[in-house]
Structure formats: C-alpha cells, structure tokens
Symmetry: C2
Subunit: 980 residues, 2 copies
C-alpha cells in the first residue's frame, strides 16, 4: 500500500493565508508572528483597512454572548488582560456591543446569537466553521450589527475553536503562550491594528493533542507543593490555559502520587470548563487514578489489581470513575495493565491473557454504556499499546473498531509501530503516545530538553502520513524545562503539513522572534537548535568520561568546543538582553544550553583526566580540578534556576539529579564523574603523546606512529610533550623531512602541542615516511609520520570523489553526487537531523518497499579507494524502529555494478526490536544505528558507492568506508569533502 | 604412563640426616637452621664430639689446596669473612694446615691432594662425592693428616659441590645468603661448634638451577647505574655470590639494554671463576645478547635479524659469540625468535618456518662443533619453547635429542606443557622456564612479590614428577623484591622431595628463623605467607575499584580487613624488632605486606567511594579522601624504600609504577584510582542502603530486600542509614517481628549501620517475612527480611550436611566428608593453596586419567538442597593449564547416583589454551578457573555431591551450588560449615 503524500485539506487554507501574507508591509514582517497562524495579523500602526484594536483613544470593547461556553467567556477575560499587558489599556468586555464603537465580537457558531446572525446574513462566511472541529475565523466585518461601523469578529466552530481564536489574537498581539510558564515578557505596543484579511485556522490534523504530566518527582511535586500547596486546581488551571494557548485540548494528569479527580474536585470541573478533554494515563483505565486504588485497595474485594481474581471489585472501581466524570468531556483509557505502571500479571499464557483482556474491555464498555446511557461506540476511548501491551495486539487481540489504538514510541522517540492499510480503515483510528521525557527503560532522561525538533518532526511525520492522527499525546515529565519540544509537538499536531522538515528552521526562528523579538531571533534559534541537537547526540545522563574519544579525531576537543561555543553564545546574548527578557532567556535558552554543555565538558574533562593519568602527565591534576569546577558550576546553575530565577518562582523545578546515572534509573543525587590524580615528583622527566594513541613514550612498547596523512584529505595531526613532575622540561623536537611542517600550538595549555602538517608541494609522490624526533634527557622519542601523495594519475582519478590514499573515507549522507528518483519516490534531505548537517530519507514516507533488482531511489557517492580487496561500508543511521510489522527495516548497498547487498537493521528481530535482548543496548544510548557490509573490488582507485532504498523510514546520516578496524570513537572519522 | 611418585635418591640422605638431628639438644634446635641441609649442624656451646670452629681461643684455621678451583679458593675467603661476621674472629686461611690446630680442611675431590688422600685412606667416605654432581660432605675427621688431631672436612664432588659446602657452613653459622642482598644481619656467636655427624648434601634434583634478570628497567637499571656504574662485574659478582649461597648455578643476564659479555669483559670471566654457568635468555641464541646485534646490525649483512634473508651474517654473529665464550662453562640457548623478544618473522607457512628453524639449529650446532672442537651432543644446549615457539614443536619440529627442551609456564606461573613419556626418553631431557615476574602478556607484574609458595610448589612438583628437571630457570625481574620466591624456587630445584606441599609451612618458618631468629619466626612466616597469598588472589596491578564487591557478602570489608590485619601485624613487629633487624624486616616483610595492603585498600576505598556516590551518601567524600591518603602512603613507602632504607642502599629498586595498569603494560607512573565526589547540601535528608544491593532508598524503584536468612547458615546482614547533606539526620528504625534482632554497630563510622540477626528460637518454622522500617522525614523506608527456619524434619535431614533453605551453598574443597582413593591414587590437600585454607588435588600427579564409569578417586560432600529442580554447581579451580598434550583438563561432577558429568576446562581449546582467544582474559586475572554444570533433583533435602577425578593436575578450591544467578562478587559466597 503506497499512500500518497498528497497535500491534505488544510493546505488550501494555507495557500489562502500565504496569499494574504504577500501584501504585508516589511514593518509588519518584523513583528513577532504567532506559531498558530503562519502569518502576522497585528501591526503597530494604522493602515488601509486595518482594524483599530487599541489606539490612542482606547481599546476596542470585547463583546460576547452570555450563553456562549463558559470556557469562551473565561478566555475573553484572558484576552482583555492580554490586551492590557501589551498596551496598558484594558478593553471593556460585555455581552452587548457599545454603540458607535468598533468592537471585537467573539462567539461560537451555534452558541452566539450575533455570530449566528452574521453567518445567516452572509456577513460572515461560516463554511469553514460549520460542522468543523476546533476551527476559528478572525476577520473584520463591516456593519455587523446596527450602529456598529465595523467589528473584528473572532468566531469559532465550537468551544475550543473560539478559544483558540481568542488566544491566536493574544499571541499575535505579543502575549506568548509562555508568558506565565516561562516569564516571556509581553510585547509592548502603544497601539495595535488587526490587518485586513480573513484568517481561518482550518481544522487540526490531529483530533486530540495533549500532554502527559509524568515522572513528576522531585521537580514538579516539589514546586507545586511549595507554590500551590499541591496539584490542585490553582496549579491545573495554569496548565489548562497553557494548553489552550498552544491549541492543545487533551491532558493526562500527574499520577505518581496524585489523583487528579480526588486531590481537588475542582480539577475535573475546571478542566471541562476551560475546555480540556481529560484522560488518564495509558495504564489507568476508566478515568481513575491508580492512586485511588492503592490508597483504598482494601475496600475493593481481595484488594488485588487482578481481573482474574478480583473482577467484581474492579468493575465497581471502574464504574465509580465513569459515574464521577461522565458529565465532563473525556477520552477514556480502557484495557488494563499491572498494578502500577508495569505489565499485567499473566494468567499463564498469552492466549488466556488476551481472553481476559477482551473480557475486561467488554465489561468496561458495558459500564460506559450503562453509566452514560450512550452507545459506547460514540464515546472516545483509547487502548494504549505501551511496552508489553503491544504484544497482545500483535498476537491477534482486537478491541472494538471504534476504540483508538494508541501506538507508542520506544520511550526514546522512535515510533515502534504505525497503522497498516487495514488498520487505517478502523473507525476509532490510531494515535501516538510519545516521549520527550522518560522515567524507565531503556534509561531515564528527566532533567533537560534533549529532543531536537528534526527528530520529532521526522517521527511524527511518519505518524501523520501513516494515519496515526486521532490522538497525539506526549509525555512531558515535569512540563518545564521542556517548553520548546512541548510547543513544537503540539504545533506539529495541529498542522504537520505546515511544519515540515524543511520549515523547522523557520519555525524555530519564529518561535525565537515571538518570545524574544526579531533582533536576536536567528541567533537564539540557532542556540536552541544546537543545544538540543547536541543533547540528541547522546543524552547528558548517558555521557561518561569514556563516551567521547580522547586520542582519536580530536573528538573530545571538537565536542567540547562545540558545546563551549553554544554556551558562550548564550552567555553573550544574556549579557546584552534587556533585563526584562533575562528570566525567560535563562530558562528557555541559557540554562539548557550551558547546563548541558557543563555536563558534556565535565565528562570530557574527567575523560581527559583519566587519559592523562594513564599517560603519566603532570597535567592530570589540572583536569581533575577542572572537573571539580564544572561539577560545582552545574550545581550553581541548578541553584540559580531554583532560587534566583524569577525571584524563586520555579524553585524545585531544577531538582532533578542528572550526574551519575548507572542503570535506567536517574541518580539519587548528583555525583561527579570519578577522576584520578598523580603525585608530582621533583623531576624534569617528560613524556610524548600523539594523536591516535592512548599510550605515551618513552616506555610504551610499540612504535609511535601518527595517523596516516594523504594528499586528498590533507589531515593535520599533533604531538604533545608533557611534564611528568614539577620541574620545567627541556627537549627539542625536529622533523627529518622537509615536507613535514611542524608548528607549536599557540593556545595556552599546560602541555606543549606541536601540529604536524604536510607541505604537499614538497612531499614526494607515493608513500613516504618521516620521523619527528623529540630529544632530551629521556633519550630520543621517534614519532613516525606516514604520508602518501597522490600521483598525477591518482589525482585525476580522484577528482570530485571522496578519496583516500590511506585511511577510511567518511561521507556525509547528503553529499551524494547524484540522486536517482523512481516514480516520484526520492531521497530527500532532512535538514539538521542527527549528527551531521542533515540526513537523507525516503519520501513519501509511505512509499512501497522495493527489493533489488527492481529500480529504486538511489544515492550515489563517487569514491576513490586506497586499495583493492575488501572494504567495509558502515552506514550510520537514525535510531528508527521497524514500525511496519513483519518487514524489518532494509536498505541496499553496492559498489559499482556489483549486486546490491540488502541489509536489515532488524535482521535479528528478537535482539533488535523493542524489548528484545538489546533494546536497552548501545543503539538506544547512541541514538543511532549502524549497518555494516563488506565489499570487494579488484582495483584501487575510482569506484561508485550506491545506497538504494528498500524500505522507507530509514534515515541515512553518514557513510564510512574502511579496510581496517576503525579507531574507537563515538562519531567515527569526520566526513571529508570530495577531492579537488 | 603413570610415573610413580616414589621417593627418589636424595631421600636416603635425608633419613640419615634426620637420624642425626634426633640427638641435637634443645638449645641447638633454637638456632636458625639453613635452608640447605634440613638439620642444624652448628651450636654455640661445646658438646661431646662437636668440632670447635670458633672458641674463646680463636677460630679454627681454614686449609685448602692452592690447585683447587679458583672459585673454591674465593669462597674460602668468604667463609673466613663470614666467620668473622658472626664471631668477630677471622680465621687464617692457608694452603697448609698449621700443626696442632684443629683446622677446617676444604677441598674438591680430584683437585685437593688432602681430600684425595683422605678418601684414598678411607678416612673420608667419598661414595657420595665421586662422580656426583655438585655434592658435598661436611664431617669431622680424626687425625686427617699427621700432627692434626681432628679436622672439619668440607669436601666437594666438584667445584660447586665444595663451594656449596662452604656456604652451607656459613649459613649454618648464621650468615644468611641474603646478608648483603637484604641486609639480614649475621647472627652473633661468641663461639661456634660443628655438631658431630656426617652431613651430605646429595645431588640436586635439577642439574641447572638459575635465575633470569629481566624487565630490568626502571628499577635494577637505575640502581646498578647509581650503585655500580652499570651492570658490570662489581654488580654481577654480587649476583654470583648470592646464587652460589642459594645453591644455584645458572644465570641468564639482564639484556633489555645490556650485553653481559660486552658491558664488562670481566663479567663472563668472573662468572666462570665463581662457578656460574652462563646462558642467554630464551630468545638470544649462541651466547650473544640481542643488544650486540641491535647496536651493530649494520655490520652484519643486510642488518636483518632474519635467517631467511641474512643467514651468512647471522652465522658470523653466532660464531663470534661461541668463539668469545667457549672457554667458560655455558649452557647454550639455540634456535631463533624474532628481532628482540618477539615471534620470528614467518616465511609464509609453519612448515617452511620449521624447515628454516631446523636449518638454523643445524648451523648453530655446526658452529658449536667447529669452534669448540667438541661433539655438539656433549655441549649443554637448550631450545626454549617460549610463547609461540611451542607451536613449532607441537607441529612436529624436533631438535637433536641432546638438546634440552625448555618448556614454559603461561607467564603467570602455570606450566603450559610437560614432557610426555616418549619425551622423557630424550637424552637432553627437559626443563622449565618459569615466571615470578612478567613484562608482557597477559599482563605485567613487576612491582612486588605476588607468588605464594603453595602455587610454585604445586606447579614445580608437576615439573619434577613429569621429568622436566634438567634446567629450572626463573624470571626474577629486578631480583629484588623477589627474595622469597627466588630462594624457594631454587631450594625446590635442589630438592623438590624435601619441600613438598606439606612442608611449605615448615620451610617458611625456617626461613623466618634463619633470617630473623626464632622468637618471631612463626609470626613472620605467617605474615609473608599471607601477603603473598592475598597477592595471589589477584595481583595488585590488576585490582581496580570494581574488583571486589561492595554490596555483596561484605566482600570489600572482609578483604580490607584481611589486608589491614597482615599489614598491622607487620607494623607491630617492626616496632619491637631490634634496630639492626629492621632494614631486613622492612624489605622482606613489612614493605611487601603493607605496600600490597595499601593497593588493595586504596582500590577498595575508591570502590566504596563510587558505590557511596551512586547511593548519594555524604560519606562519599570521606572515601575519596581516604583513597587520596592511601595513594600518598603508597608513594611514601616507595620513597622510604628508595631513599631511607639501609641508608639509601636500594635506591631505585622501588621505582616501579604499579597503580593504574590498563593493558598488559605496566603504568608509566602511578595514578590514583579515580574517585567521585558529591556536593553536600544544607539538608538533613538521609538514605537507606542494605547489604546485597547497590541501590538506596527512598527513590529506588525496586523493593529493599535483605539477602535471605536461614536457620542452617544463620546469616547476619545489615542496613545502613546515611546522611545526604551536612546536617545531622533523624530517623527511627524498628522491626515488626520479635525474631528480628536489630543492633547498632559500635564501630565509629560516618554512616550508621544496623546489624540484623535472627533469633531462631523465636522465629516460626518455615518461611517468614518481616519488615524493618526506617521512619523519619523521608517517609517510611521498608526493608524486607526473609527468614526460613528448618522444620524438625529438615533439621534432622540436614544434620552434618552443607545445607541451605534459601540461597546458595558454598563448600571449601577440603571439607569433603569422605575421600575415596582408588589404587593409591587419591585426593590430597594442598595446604594454604589459593583462595581458601587449602585446596584438593590428585596425587600422584602422574596418575593416569580415568573416565567414568571406571572407578576414580572421589570427594563426597553431603548437601541439603533448598529446592527441587535444577541447580548449578560451580567448581572454583586453580588456574592450571592443559600441560598434557591433547587431553584437556577434566573433572566429573554428579549428584547422588546420577551419571557423572565430565567437564573440561579446555573443552574449547582454541579459546582456553595459552595464546588462545582468551589467554589474557579473566582466568589469568582471577588466578582461578571455573567449571559449571547443571544438575536436577526431584526433591529438596539431602543429596550427595560427588566430585571425581578424571585428569590429574586439576586443583579444586571451592564448590558452589545455586539455583539462581549469584550476586556479583570476586570470591562468591563464603563457605559454610555443615549444619549442626
């Protein structure tokens, strides 16, 4: 089945909006847009046809119908407050429009007499409201009612449609959805005009869009306790408002030690009033918190959370939940897992378990029907196929057709399963339960934002294209500090076809502009993209002193430098931002960037400490001190976040220990990466270390040989000479060949570094050997330099190719010289995805699999191989799962015209798939997968490496060709450019 | 072929000597005996028939024949000096005996006219001298020559026989062989009498007994440079004298950066004069140091150390060596390895390599014949089957029959191969090249003595019984600080049938008595046995913070306590010893005991630091400090050894870095085990840790469950409550069952420990569960206590059996309730071997293999298993190699009357054997091997575990029966006693 990736119905609106946007003036373009409508509708100055929302004369009055939804009326109050926040002028808000004014008329089709009248009179085109889900229109209407010259109309198709319209105007005015949750200061405008045009939201792509507050200790629990006295309605109304401002509509409340409905009876009532559809988490059926059971289990039969032994009591428990909440808008979780967030106790076999689970669901639906007097097929329900539950489905269990199948990711952001063509026909459809925070296997990540937008986009686009679009709910941990991925996820859920992979950069820049203004938006967008990208390389909790290679590829230095750069840029901006923006900037930009950088740098410093200790460098101790200093800085940043930021408003939200994670569990407290020390003797002994080797000389048994140089890649390498004791060292260093260029590094450092470059003009053609000699009291340490210079013929043959005369060849996936499309199926770039600048994947993502020898979309990389014989090709891939059942995840690799080798990430399904033997293994930690194949060529020199699609869904990041074991490193050899 | 373990010819002499010893007075018994003759022959006071060596009137004159061997004359001088050292009186030494004196006549049969005359006259029974190798007799002879009433005669069968006799008297007098090399102070005697009797040495069991000075940087090189100006004859004569005093005769000189024959031409001349047979190391053929090649390779053909390409030049090189040294007594290494101590460059196949090697040996023998004008079959030669060389032999290469095959150990003290019956027929016989120091694979151990006598004895007894007794040479590194195993190895080489496994305790006590007197001999012997035993558990270089388990079995504490006890005992003795003994005691006892203890304790402290960090204990930092303190103490001990000990005499001999070994190579400098830190918050938060778990509560996901208690094993366990911050903590701890006995540990420690015992009188029969509750501000942490009390029937069934009602059963191998011998083949205890009190092995070691169902020697262990079903039996074995070719190393295990399962350590020969895939793996590091088998029983309760011999050579240390995965630990569960 090949779904087309054809535009779907929201695109029409977009075209309309974009055509409007074209006429905007440059000044308007500079104003911060919202992330809802992809166009700016508010201006500071009057223009032809613009509606005067706030002028020197005052604010336009807000008018609504008293019989409209309570949630709409409440939101009108928010709008009045927001207008005042921005302009200092608070509009009146009343059920009647004052005569002679130009009012804002706000109402829901079917609930507002004025709106209904406007529609009936043809003054308001209600075509995209009538019968629509959560849609709104904002437009000026001349003479809407007698005596009124013109009104700005915000009309909703339903309750949330109107509310979203209200908040869209607020956001456009300059009140960030995060004004309270991240202290984003409202924009200041003396006046505000709504530009002429008709601004329609269209319907959301995903019907239910929500978040799951989870893993809520120590942070959210500590904060809500101190700030609100618990997870009561004072807290939850803040959440509801945020969700609505982000055009979300669905919530799974916190449940570790909380029971939403019991902790504060106002919680569910206000959720409904605000307009939030409530659910319960994937393992809490029938609107009941598991805590309601554990607190009172003794009152229920034998107290066992086991339907095989205690079904009657459990039915009572379920019924109570539905009876209590039936008056509100719910999306009911059904099914049953074990006692708490764990697997069900088995009845003996999967067959009998399924039978029991089918009975449970049948009973639950009967209760639903009895309590609500409604056909259960008309009550929104979901069955969450979380962790082990999926196996019941795969084993044949089928819930009623109207129940939404809630598929999940692998807890680290890769979707495990998506609907098949057959499943897409189900009336209940499918949804996704996604994670950007985890407390559980394969490992916890609860501290900071580690979720780059390109990966969320890549995965959720799969969900969208494969039709899992009834529900998108995301586990957001403590909510803060995941502000960015929460909003991105929800904005995607509204319109995945707006925020495609190619527009993530624009999204991020617009987010930065909305919350911090245009001046630094590009820089801020780059900082937040980079820190999240780097955290995506490997989550901070999983970085150890061994993760990043010290000796190879200058990897530790390069990673450190990348982190330091992003942290420094954030610090520099912080220093020059207006004071009122600093709190928001700290929590949204500076803290995550710098605190993440500290963790990486701390582990790299500890790694360098151990590497130096092993080599016997006196500088070992300086790296230990640096590790300690970074460890203290980490604590200082958490302390600032908790105690100083926004006057202590967010105390406890940075309580999460994150240093020293040994299992899937987060650490109990932060512990510093262990560091070694050396005792410095009163000696002027020295040692010599070289790139590419953990050893040091003299003393080490083997030869000192620098990584090979070749004229195609023009590598640079280094030698370091270090003191072993307290005294200054004396030595000379000299090369024995004129083509070896030796320069001392000017950076201040304890040990002396000498760079080795090759003067290729002077080097002889072919393989040459030179020697660097370090001479002094320790005799002579010789370091071998192997350099190979291409012959003219080799140079001609290699031109434009990824070439090597010695070591491995590494190629960035998008650097293909040629892309072959087949029937519109094509390799496309996913900008900013993964470890490199971008990655390549197949589009449309629903393309049919194609096995050689059938023609398939192909990437071609011209290479120049250093030697004949066997080479190993390593593909570095995204951490995708086998989301199409029983297919694996395949790709084909060939050299020249050899038969393509079909490689399957899931060749060993038992091991590789979710919950398989290695589900918590390196792949999950590396956030990458690897496929290796061996290819033999008869000659060195020019060849063509071809990577051909088999299954869509694979993401290709990097290709490495090597004929020898690669040195240990996290990223492998850096990519090279084609030879010139 | 089953060699009998019958006594061999030296036993007759021993019986004679022991019959003499019976008449010794108690006073004499207290005098320190030598380690040569197993009887004391010198007394302080006159007694009937005793020869007055030194009296108040003076010292008996020493007489010798001027035409005796120069080495004998030189040794006479040493005797004169030794007598003066002991008594303050220097005897005259002359070629004529002064009239009327009672002289000491010293001479070699055939070289001393007096001795020859005594023999001819029947005054000296020369039966055990004539034609014998290196034998001597010490006895009083009345009227030996006209005018002399009585003489003490020291007569040798040959040069070294006489010299050994001289040094035997010196040692008996009280001059330790180590008087110079370890500053052992000579005993003080005013008078000395040689007891009446005839003291005959007999012949040595092994013809060539020697040491190999190797791996001689930084220590020996630094020391000799400073002390002697290099490895010249000033240094080597000290070595020669030591060797002769230890009855050794053979030396491979240092060769890392040295050339014995060239560095000082006096070296070979004096070696020969002293009486030392010179060789060159296993990889240096034809009496040439490899350095002689590397220094001047350009003068030899193409300069390649490759017989395939440079044979004529190599022949010249070889010929020069023989020509130079042919005048001296040599044992010539033949064959050829690679350029330096590495494998030969292959010629393409093993067959062609063998062909080349055969040619090399043929050429070498031709050179030998030509240069010495001697039949090469009469020139002692060896071919060392070191590392990869053995494969040529196993592939069929056979050197001439007169060449001694020098088999080797696996570099860590386990013999790789021993002669077969066929090979024992060879005229050249076989020998052993053994290691008590290593610079190479599987790992270097060059720092300190890590060689327990029982293991050396067990292995060298194999060599002896299997007929590898032509040469025993041992790699001794820098010589110091391996004084103890060097002497033990050489004493064993002289008489393995004297120093059997059962007399090691006696040997060690006698060594201690000889060098430190009787008062503390037992204590000193125990200290040196224990530190070596503990170092044998795992060499200090290989201990890491992870080696010893922190949470399980109190392993880290128990190992720490064992080490601290031995170090403290050594310190206590040091404090009370007479000042003149302290230098010797420091270098032979205190330093190795305490410095080894520091390394173990340092790593355990660092391990505890990381364990505490993971749990979030404030006390984490104290363990980091303790690690740092121990690290400094380690350096301080090395500094004392180098700079203060004996006035700085041994400077540089403790220069070997030993902390921070990451590969086979020793570290370049000492680096501290890495330690973590925590930042202490101003909080009174606390956590709870329990035995058996790395986690801590609250916060940890899983339940806190103590290791199971049962009434058979009456385990004790503990819970610790620790502060997380700087403030005092407040909590209560309480048990909910009367049978749980909770007592707080009284030892001062930062964290509070509560011991949990079970009051079995109060506990109900069967399985019970109790709870310890730790209550306070962090809520309640519940710790589960599972206790099982035997029913009366169970108690009856378990009586006298190794029993459990819950966890594993661990049994010390010698605790068998029954031993079944078959035809004299039997399991015997090897006292003090390995990890426990002793181990069991098959004797005679040359017994034939026997496979079930043939009856074989068996050990029976009555057990009481906690449950029916499958149990895993783990045998903890010695680290033996498969020294009999093509047989593996097998043992059989059975429960009850089930068919015995034959297990083979070398079932996977490619992986397990030397240089196999795992040759450097855990086995070598653990100094133990493990065999596991699974056994199923139909009932819980009484069963019989049977371990049955298949192949001799296996050493059984411990047995573990478990039905679940054992917790991680180094030693496994502690052994239990049978149920009462």
């Amino acid at each position: 089945m090949a779904q087309t990736e054809a535009p779907f119905h929201r695109v029409a609106h977009q075209h309309l909006l974009i055509s409007v946007a074209i006429v905007l003036t440059p000044a308007v373009l500079c104003a911060g847009p919202s992330l809802g409508l992809p166009v700016t509708i508010v201006a500071d100055a009057p223009s032809a046809g613009a509606f005067p929302l706030v002028t020197a004369q005052g604010a336009a009055p807000l008018c609504y119908d008293a019989s409209d939804h309570a949630g709409v009326l409440r939101a009108v109050g928010d709008l009045a407050a927001d207008i005042e926040r921005v302009t200092g002028r608070r509009p009146s808000a009343a059920t009647t429009c004052p005569a002679h004014a130009q009012p804002v008329i706000i109402g829901t089709l079917g609930k507002s007499a004025v709106i209904d009248a406007l529609a009936a009179a043809g003054k308001l085109d209600a075509a995209d409201l009538k019968g629509k889900w959560e849609s709104f229109v904002i437009t000026s209407v001349p003479h809407p009612i007698p005596g009124v010259k013109r009104a700005l109309v915000i009309a909703g198709s339903d309750k949330r449609g109107t509310i979203y319209g209200i908040y869209e105007l607020a956001e456009q005015l300059g009140v960030s959805p995060w004004y309270w949750w991240a202290d984003v200061p409202p924009k200041r405008r003396a006046q505000a005009y709504v530009l002429p045009g008709r601004y329609a939201s269209g319907e959301p792509a995903v019907r239910y869009r929500g978040i799951f507050l989870n893993d809520e200790a120590p942070c959210l629990t500590g904060w809500t306790k101190e700030k609100f006295g618990g997870m009561n309605s004072k807290f939850y109304t803040k959440v509801f408002e945020l969700l609505l401002r982000l055009r979300a509509n669905y919530l799974w409340p916190a449940m570790w030690d909380n029971a939403f409905n019991e902790d504060d009876p106002e919680n569910p009532r206000l959720a409904d009033e605000y307009g939030i559809v409530m659910g319960t988490s994937h393992h809490e059926p029938m609107m009941r918190a598991h805590k309601e059971w554990t607190k009172r289990r003794a009152q229920y039969g034998n107290g066992q959370w086991n339907y095989a032994t205690n079904s009657e009591a459990l039915k009572v428990f379920f019924r109570e939940g539905i009876a209590r909440n039936k008056g509100y808008e719910n999306l009911v979780t059904i099914g049953m897992r074990g006692d708490g967030d764990e697997g069900m106790v088995t009845t003996g076999s999967i067959e009998s378990d399924i039978k029991l689970l089918e009975q449970i669901i049948a009973d639950q639906r009967q209760i639903l029907a009895e309590e609500t007097k409604t056909d259960p097929a008309r009550i929104p329900q979901l069955w969450a196929l979380f962790t082990e539950v999926q196996k019941f489905y795969e084993h044949g269990m089928r819930p009623p057709d109207d129940v939404t199948l809630l598929w999940t990711d692998d807890n680290t952001g890769s979707l495990r399963r998506l609907p098949t063509a057959e499943e897409r026909k189900r009336s209940g459809g499918a949804g996704i339960y996604y994670h950007i925070d985890m407390h559980g296997g394969p490992y916890a990540y609860q501290w900071i934002n580690t979720n780059p937008f390109p990966k969320i986009c890549e995965q959720m686009n799969l969900a969208h294209q494969y039709g899992a679009n009834r529900i998108w709910i995301v586990n957001v941990g403590d909510l803060k500090p995941l502000e960015l991925p929460i909003e991105f996820f929800l904005r995607l859920a509204w319109s995945p076809s707006t925020w495609t992979k190619d527009r993530i950069g624009e999204y991020t820049r617009r987010w930065a502009e909305r919350d911090f203004g245009p001046e630094h938006a590009t820089e801020i967008a780059d900082i937040v993209s980079k820190y999240a990208k780097y955290n995506g390389w490997r989550k901070p909790e999983l970085i150890t002193p061994e993760t990043i290679s010290q000796p190879n590829y200058r990897e530790a230095e390069r990673v450190s430098e990348a982190w330091r750069a992003v942290a420094t840029r954030a610090e520099n901006l912080y220093a020059i931002l207006p004071p009122e923006q600093r709190d928001a900037f700290y929590q949204l930009v500076l803290h995550p960037a710098k605190a993440s950088a500290l963790v990486a740098e701390m582990n790299i410093a500890a790694g360098r400490n151990r590497y130096f200790a092993r080599q016997g460098r006196a500088s070992t101790n300086a790296e230990a001190s640096r590790t300690r200093e970074l460890f203290k800085q980490d604590q200082a940043m958490s302390d600032y976040y908790n105690k100083q930021l926004a006057g202590g408003k967010w105390n406890h939200l940075m309580d999460q220990p994150h240093l020293g994670q040994f299992t899937w569990e987060p650490p109990r407290i932060n512990s510093m990466p262990a560091v070694s020390e050396v005792l410095l003797a009163d000696t002027d002994n020295y040692g010599v270390a070289i790139e590419g080797d953990v050893s040091a000389w003299p003393d080490h048994f083997g030869d000192a040989v620098l990584p090979a140089f070749d004229s195609f890649n023009r590598q640079r390498s280094y030698v370091e000479v270090f003191a072993e004791g307290t005294r200054p060292i004396e030595f000379t260093i000299e090369a024995d060949k004129p083509w070896i260029v030796l320069t001392e590094d000017a950076t201040p450092r304890l040990d002396r570094r000498f760079w080795i470059d090759i003067d290729w003009a002077k080097a002889p053609t072919g393989a040459s050997t030179g020697t660097l000699s370090v001479r002094g009291k320790r005799g002579t340490v010789d370091v071998k330099v192997l350099a190979t210079k291409a012959s003219d013929e080799q140079a001609r043959g290699a031109k434009g190719r990824f070439a090597s005369l010695a070591g491995p060849i590494a190629i960035a996936a998008p650097d293909a010289s040629k892309k072959v499309d087949v029937s519109g199926v094509r390799w496309e770039e996913i900008p900013d995805y993964g470890r490199g600048v971008s990655a390549m994947s197949i589009f449309p993502v629903t393309a049919e699999s194609v096995l050689p020898p059938q023609p398939a979309p192909q990437l071609e990389y011209p290479v120049f191989l250093p030697r004949a014989g066997a080479s190993q090709v390593t593909l570095v891939l995204g951490p995708v799962m086998d989301f199409v059942p029983d297919r694996g995840m395949r790709i084909a690799v060939a050299l020249d015209d050899q038969a393509p080798q079909v490689l399957d990430i899931f060749a060993d399904r038992a091991a590789e798939t979710f919950l398989g033997r290695s589900w918590d293994a390196q792949t999950a930690r590396d956030n990458a997968r690897y496929l290796r194949s061996s290819h033999t060529v008869a000659t060195s020199g020019p060849h063509l490496l071809k990577v051909t699609m088999v299954d869509p869904g694979i993401v290709l990041q990097k290709l490495i060709i090597s004929s020898a074991q690669l040195p240990e490193s996290y990223f492998g050899p850096p990519e090279s450019a084609p030879a010139e």
